[in-house]
Amino acid sequence: MHNAPLTAVTHNTAGHTIARRDPVWVRWTLILFAVGSLTLLIVVPVVNVFYQALAPGLRGYFNNLVGDPDTLHAIGLTLIIAPIAVTANLVFGVAAAWAIARFKFPGRSLLTALVDLPFSVSPVVAGLMLVLLFGMQGHFGPWLREHGISIIFAWPGLILATTFVTLPFIARELIPVMEAIGSDEEVAAVSLGANGWQMLWRVTLPNVKWGLLYGVILCNARAMGEFGAVYVVSGHIAGRTDTMPLRVEKLFQEYNNPASFAVASLLTLLALVTLVLKVVVARKTRRDLEEAARESAPTGGA
């Protein structure tokens, strides 16, 4: 496991040398093909989102965003739900990554597989699972109604659905980083008298901070953009349980294209910001991994 980042680096360099030896026409054909398909599939639609959103002019654009109380509520709801889901996954992700990277226990590989489950389950199915558990006809439905707690068609359901769908992001990012860094520094901290919390806050988290931030960024982007699972549990009650992606869909169904694209442009903007952050943080994470690989290699030196 320790060598993984090293081998990745070697592959990269090897790839470069081979690419440079290819004839010119092969290189240019490949580059043009890649750039062309990216333009067609990504750049054009993204630009179109902003074009459509800004079609009614700047004033119309802002009016579309802030003039409609239901749209405003949807933006607010997304801004509340995403941080809660990210926080929940932060706690879960650190705990799961620590357990998987640091301990050998029966069921360890099962836990690793379970962490990935939300990636392989269709979000719609994830939403349905929640409805079957907490809905009126679900297992806990009657009990919840007796106690006046609503989960489905209310914000707790939105949070559960979003958390479930984004569960793997942080743990997945942390496990390889923690495995590469190893437990030596943590053992050293304990031998120097640190208790569990001191070790976590002073040694473990600072060491994985870039990997953790990377996971948080990805998790947040997905949490804000989640549609399928949220669609099933929300009941899309305008002004109550509509999130931004649901609002985009509803406005679009109402043939209110400019308003729909205005909200969509916000989500797209978020995606672009995420992309930039992701590139910056990914670079720092990779540097940490390479450093860890160098340190664990038993080379001496004056």
Binding site: E185, A188, S191, G301
Partner: protein, 352 residues
Amino acid sequence: MSIKVEGITKRFGSFTALDNVSLEVPGGSLLALLGPSGSGKTTLLRVIAGLEPPDAGRVLNEDEDMTQTSARERNVGFVFQHYALFRHMSVYENIAFGLRVRKAPKREIHDRVTELLHLVRLEGLGKRYPSQLSGGQRQRVALARALAIRPKVLLLDEPFGALDAKVRDELRSWLRRLHDEIHVTSVFVTHDQQEAFEVADRVVVMNGGRVEQVGAPAEVFENPANAFVMDFLGNVNVIPAQVSNGRARFGSLEWLFPEHDHGDERAATLYVRPHELQIERSPNGGGSMRARVDRINAAGPVAKVFLSSLEGGMGLNVEVSADRYVELNLKTGDTVYVAPRKVRVFTPEYVI
């Protein structure tokens, strides 16, 4: 403060890493755990540190049982083989760590860290990060960090294992001087016999989870307790022999071996160190064997001569002083006579 280990046993699955090991580390001494890899030396160190719970036995500190005390509360300084410095903390913060988690006042931390930076000769490097230091400097930071908490005992796991030969030599003699200065009870693990002999007051030779011999370096080197110790301490000629009637024989050579005075002949092994073999140009009576010079390495304070015996064809490895080498005027292919000055005979039961 003295450390006592009583009947420690530690198993990992079906592998027994430590098999009923008992040991005493006198207060203020510097002791080396010496052995090949897999001999249990690092496991023993980790048991003393509380990083590994033993399956049986006790660890005592000044007669106080600390087997159940957690590593955190044992107040033991541990220096790890690969330093394990906190990569995101400066040298200063690394050294201060043990004091910070103990919530020591700022002033005290500052004084102690400054004192330690001076002790390990890293003044002015407090703001650097571990990645900006050389291997030797990192090891000294690791040492300062372990010493900052004023440990009852200092434990070092292969402290020089990851360093260049030259830096290793410097750090070795520096560690010895440091120990003479601060006198903290110390145990270090090594697989390098030269390192153990050079640095330690006492050497514990371990093998297969057991202690083979304990003693001062000279004592262990001159009087190895058994064949393993002799062999492990390195650079030794192994000669197969027969013993019977109080004598050990190899070819025409004979030595007294009163421990085995029966008439029935049995196999034994003779061990002779390279410097205990003597090369002569002519036979000196019965006590020498004929050999041919295969190769000579005259670089260094002693000349290393590689011979093959003409009786039995076995390779021998002899060290002669530079003066003697000039006197003998040896050349590859010469026929010479070799006589052991000192021989150790080991049979499964007998030792001389």
